[in-house]
Point group: C4
Chain length 201, copies 4
Amino acid sequence: MPHIPVLAAEEIIRAGRRMDQRGWVPATAGNISVRIEGPRIAITCSGGHKGFLDSFSVIEVDADARVVTPGARPSAETRLHCQIYRAFPDAGAVLHGHSVANTVLSLEEPGPALSFSGYEVQKIFAGQTTHDATLHLPLFDNDQDMARLAGVVAPHLPGMTMGYLIRGHGVYVWGPNMDMALARLEGLEFLLACALERRRK
Amino acid sequence: MPHIPVLAAEEIIRAGRRMDQRGWVPATAGNISVRIEGPRIAITCSGGHKGFLDSFSVIEVDADARVVTPGARPSAETRLHCQIYRAFPDAGAVLHGHSVANTVLSLEEPGPALSFSGYEVQKIFAGQTTHDATLHLPLFDNDQDMARLAGVVAPHLPGMTMGYLIRGHGVYVWGPNMDMALARLEGLEFLLACALERRRK
Amino acid sequence: MPHIPVLAAEEIIRAGRRMDQRGWVPATAGNISVRIEGPRIAITCSGGHKGFLDSFSVIEVDADARVVTPGARPSAETRLHCQIYRAFPDAGAVLHGHSVANTVLSLEEPGPALSFSGYEVQKIFAGQTTHDATLHLPLFDNDQDMARLAGVVAPHLPGMTMGYLIRGHGVYVWGPNMDMALARLEGLEFLLACALERRRK
Amino acid sequence: MPHIPVLAAEEIIRAGRRMDQRGWVPATAGNISVRIEGPRIAITCSGGHKGFLDSFSVIEVDADARVVTPGARPSAETRLHCQIYRAFPDAGAVLHGHSVANTVLSLEEPGPALSFSGYEVQKIFAGQTTHDATLHLPLFDNDQDMARLAGVVAPHLPGMTMGYLIRGHGVYVWGPNMDMALARLEGLEFLLACALERRRK
């Protein structure tokens, strides 16, 4: 894997361990990427548990989700990662994970978004300066046709604040670097855990 | 223990630690096995905590659940493991664990199965390619007579997709190797945790 | 501490770490003891977090809960430990811990006991051979006067199966050795977690 | 950082790891301080995850929350820490964290305080000797203007027993040293977890 910098692979491996500790990558779910340079990204390959990654689990793809690493098997969701890097030039890392809270809320909520207000933690998202705002997490129906799903998501990406949620298929969150992407994912999962608990009142 | 390959014992010990971290082997509950060759399997012996296994905790049994390791004390559930290896020639590892979610759902649900649909994680099970399918987890009443319980389970094994659940007595899950068996168990427990949460709405 | 065998202190330290990992010794709650020989026991001293014990946290007391270790400060609950060792000559280790489940159930349940049936995990308790039995966990009101509380508990000790629960003040569980005491505590907490979840149906 | 004793930074780093393990510092939430001497304190700087602190994450401020460390960026909440050290001369460490339980309860409860009685764990707070007392955790509305929020909190500080809670913005807890501050935070979070669970009955 001559193209993938060691640091990129290490950050992906570390993110996978952290997501596993939190229970956000059950079975072989989830995928993790970092931007290497321009449109080139390093991303977890298809299959395998994201809590136990090694450098062979990370592959390189170009801006159109075409695999650069010889013989590598990309995950179907690679396309969704590339779409985010194109839409947000300052995105440096993208995380996709499944939690019990995000899965249950996505299946319970019939509307097009979940809304959050009154939480200090909202300030982890780009441009947010107060708890006294209402943030929306768009909710899309799941689809095994990733090209079609990407097409449904695309028009909603500009101005998207928190990331987005696919019904029964987890969240997508990003940040300028891996630490911030992980912090935003953790902030979002905290808000989702609170929202789920408040619905049980 | 001349018959048990070191790798088989190591995989069982590692699986026990992982199951313990997740809270799926409370007290001395659960058992874990891998296929050594043909009908011979390595399996955890009776008693002892599955989160703190060593090589002395692993014994060898033949296709009829007869103990090969001299002086070893087999678990009563050994018979259920052997039955799975016979029914599924490509099964390489079998896991049995108790979680709060699987125990509570098994005691709350009066019907013969739990059903799951709409979850991307369903694709961890053999032959599943979409969230848009309905999977069934058969549910059997517990019985201290393991021969009788095995007889009740047997006719349901062919074509079984997810594994099965015994009321108040945990799940059985398997895969072609330990990593996949663990991934399927984790996927199943994720689905069960979601199902339990959704019943609390 | 010339009287306390190294192994006794090590087992207490290890049990404290395990209980802390599970969330059963919040703040400075809980205490842990092992029988050294006859009526002499080693027990955690008053105060301090049970997840971060060292050998200075362990003191020796005699059958009447009198401190043998010079200058040591015993926990008020030491008396309850001694009472258990007297009542059960084969008790080798006693654990006292507070979980959210045991605390909430103890405060919600107005009756004199919690009952459990249908769980395979019930078999972890001495003499239990089937899920098809009903076990009782006696429930006592809390009292800052430990001598009086011990007097209320005493007549219920003979034949006690699971241990006992004090309202808002955690459980007492024991076993022939530390491993079995820990397994029984874990089994009991598993049953309590299930019972609490089933009340939320 | 010539002013900050190594031990002060180490205690803050350790506390951050512990709070992260418990899920109390999601995203970049929370902050942690210790008194160095008189009115001088060491405190986590603004931003960054509190579970992964290093000595560069800790800065020194004076009694009026003015930063002493050259070039350091203080957290807005530094003012609330300084206020606590002034009001409680024996306070040696202050912790601020967000849990799902404290966040949800703070947003569900319309009143000016949460009350607790009947829990043995209440005795972790200064001056408490029995479960048979009623303790109050004052609840304040969140405000992005920290000077104004500090002004609202100030008159309630004298005689405050448990700490206080800000709606959607976590708890403040303190103790004579870091170990006791951590034990009190853990005790408070245990009480809050019980209270939340009891509301779901």
